[in-house]
């Protein structure tokens, strides 16, 4: 276990706290600051970096170089944007509900930051090491629905209102498949503690034991995503997470081409920046919990710990950017239908699949369970998916269209 980096960080924290050993109150304050401040700063930094990554990535997808004039490779672009936004005029619409208009960005930021606190970033790097961290996470992260609706409603703009309504409908619906796909993991790990969920994915038992192969591949193959139920669960989780985080193709609350900027329409200056940052950080939080639940958390070969977590987080974000660069948006009724008629039954079926796998593993060992799970369990899931989509689609959409070419 080569988590040298994490241990050093924890040691550093202890060392700083040791200065205040004689002042219990001050020590507590310092402890709290050490738990929160680096987290907040690093995630804000990550937000800035992600906006750069997103702009560069989208640019490359669209065959253009992207920002490259401000600093090396345009790396200072987010800083320029940040300073500009900070000093830009803040407009509060005359007839808006000023209190809620003011509170909405804060309300979006708080649950996002708390959600980040539940993530096990590394071995011992855990701001809020609760035993029920995962359930708490889902409870807190659904709060940002309220913030988005507050932003939409208080602006007193029709587009904002539509955006807010969409956000409520969408986020509440997708909360269910999100949690249901997490249930399978919790079931298998037998714990709601995030660190224990990570620990349950440390070593794959069927690669062999005590050799270099296990050291290397075992640390990858132990991730839940390589198990049949975990793979399906990860896909459902990822789709639901995209919807939770208002990312494309589910970015309906701020659909540019339909309702201007949705709930963000009336926000300017730094409030807009904070709303924007809040959305990104809640997307980070959801992606982070996805990493924890399905991608083995901070586990990984060679340099386990924080670097692996960061790597996985940004890879997941890169996929989000890639999807954003490719796909158009769903319609609002299709979005709801997709959550309730498709993802919800499949997520429930996935829980049964997980139970089935667990039973087989107990009875005949991992190898058999894997085989049966991938063949039959996953097959069943596939069939169910196809059946559901056929059921939900109208015959004209199902049939393939042919176009005549006439003289």
């Amino acid at each position: 276990m080569n988590n040298y980096f994490d241990l050093k960080l924890v040691e550093l924290g202890r060392w700083i706290e040791a200065f205040f050993a004689h002042y219990p109150t001050l020590k507590l304050v310092v402890h709290l600051l050490l738990c929160t401040l680096p987290l907040a700063l690093s995630f804000m930094g990550a937000f800035a970096f992600t906006t750069w990554l997103e702009r560069k990535g989208l640019a490359r997808i669209q065959n253009r170089p992207g920002p490259n004039r401000v600093g090396l490779f345009g790396l200072l672009q987010p800083i320029a944007d940040g300073i500009k936004m900070l000093l830009k005029e803040d407009i509060v619409p005359e007839r808006s509900d000023k209190l809620f208009h003011f509170l909405a960005p804060i309300m979006l930021m708080i649950p996002a930051m708390i959600g980040v606190g539940f993530l096990p970033l590394g071995d011992g790097l855990h701001a809020l090491p609760l035993d029920s961290a995962i359930i708490f996470f889902f409870a807190i992260s659904s709060l940002n629905t309220i913030a988005v609706f507050m932003a939409g409603w208080s602006s007193r703009n029709k587009y904002s209102l539509l955006g807010g309504m969409r956000a409520v409908a969408q986020m509440i619906s997708y909360e269910i498949p999100l949690v249901l796909s997490a249930v399978a993991v919790i079931m298998m790990a037998g714990s709601l503690n995030a660190q224990e969920v990570v620990a349950s994915q440390q070593i794959s038992s069927w690669v062999g034991s005590g050799n270099i192969l296990q050291e290397f591949f075992g640390r990858i193959l132990g991730w839940n995503v390589f198990k049949p139920w975990g793979f399906a669960g990860f896909i459902f989780f990822f789709i639901a997470a995209l919807a939770e985080a208002n990312r494309s193709p589910f970015d309906l609350p701020e659909a540019d081409s339909e309702i201007i900027a949705g709930h963000l329409t009336e926000y300017s200056g730094f409030k807009y920046a904070i709303l924007f940052m809040g959305e990104y950080i809640s997307a980070f939080a959801i992606a982070g919990i996805g990493v924890t639940l399905f991608l083995g958390g901070w586990n990984g070969p060679v340099f386990a710990g924080l670097p692996w977590f960061v790597l996985k987080l940004f890879s997941l974000f890169a996929v989000m950017i890639w999807i954003r660069g490719t796909l158009p948006r769903l319609r609002v009724d299709q979005l709801m239908g997709y959550a309730w008629k498709f993802l919800f039954p499949l997520a429930i079926l996935n829980i049964f699949l997980a139970g089935f796998y667990h039973f087989l593993e107990r009875q005949w060992g991992t190898a058999i369970a894997m085989l049966a799970g991938w063949l039959f369990g996953f097959g069943a899931l596939q069939l169910a998916a196809i059946a559901l989509s056929r059921l939900n689609q109208s015959p004209t959409i199902r049939s393939k269209r042919v176009y005549q070419l006439v003289e």
Partner: protein, 213 residues
């Protein structure tokens, strides 16, 4: 056909291909880094009209004769010409004022097409953003006049054609003039040419100068 299916993955494949190929294939990254690299204009590009002059002095070598054909042909009426007068108040065949309001011009090239003296041509300069509308965008005669060399620089092909055409025209005029002089010498005895005929030769001077260059 499920909602997450083949089509979406295919599309993602296309974007991924574009993403990676943009690093090593020129056609996937066709960006022209504008201020550093030269812009994508070619020798046929046109933007705003300018006036041509031959020789060194812009005003003396001006080809324009203030015939106002371009002024009349201009669809948005952005050309404004006032003929020059000599001390006696007699009109001279050159413009005293020749203004083009580039903030109105629609770059249609009709003025170029109607000009019989090859005096007005289209420039391809485009870096004309200005903070002042009237001083920056209302071009007067001095700002509009550009040497023939500049024309050769921006539109080499077209300029060569123009020069050839003008040389041919000048040669024809020369031949006509010679023939007329010959006829005059043969027919009559009195040599002094009438004063009114003095102007056409001055007008035809530029091509001659062009030829001598």
């Amino acid at each position: 056909m499920s909602l997450i299916g083949k089509g979406i993955l295919k599309g993602m494949g296309v974007t991924a291909k574009n993403f990676f190929q943009s690093y090593y294939r020129k056609e996937r990254l066709p960006t022209v880094e504008y201020p550093e690299e030269k812009a994508t204009i070619n020798q046929f590009s046109r933007n705003f009209p300018f006036l041509l002059y031959d020789g060194d002095d812009p005003v003396d070598g001006m080809r324009c004769t203030a015939c106002t054909l371009c002024e009349r042909a201009c669809p948005p009426q952005c050309i404004y010409i006032i003929k020059d007068k000599d001390e006696n108040g007699k009109a001279i065949l050159s413009p005293r004022i020749f203004d083009i309001d580039t903030s109105v011009c629609m770059s249609c090239q009709l003025c170029v097409e109607v000009c019989p003296y090859e005096a007005i041509r289209m420039d391809s300069a485009f870096e004309l953003s200005n903070e002042n509308r009237f001083e920056g965008l209302l071009l007067n005669r001095e700002e509009l006049l550009k040497p023939n060399a500049y024309y050769h620089e921006i539109h080499p092909l077209e300029a060569r054609e123009t020069d050839d055409r003008m040389a041919a025209k000048a040669a024809l005029a020369e031949a006509k003039k010679k023939a007329r002089q010959k006829r005059a010498r043969l027919a009559a005895k009195n040599k002094p040419p009438p004063g009114l005929k003095k102007t056409p030769p001055t007008r035809k001077k530029p091509p001659q100068r062009e030829k001598s260059e």
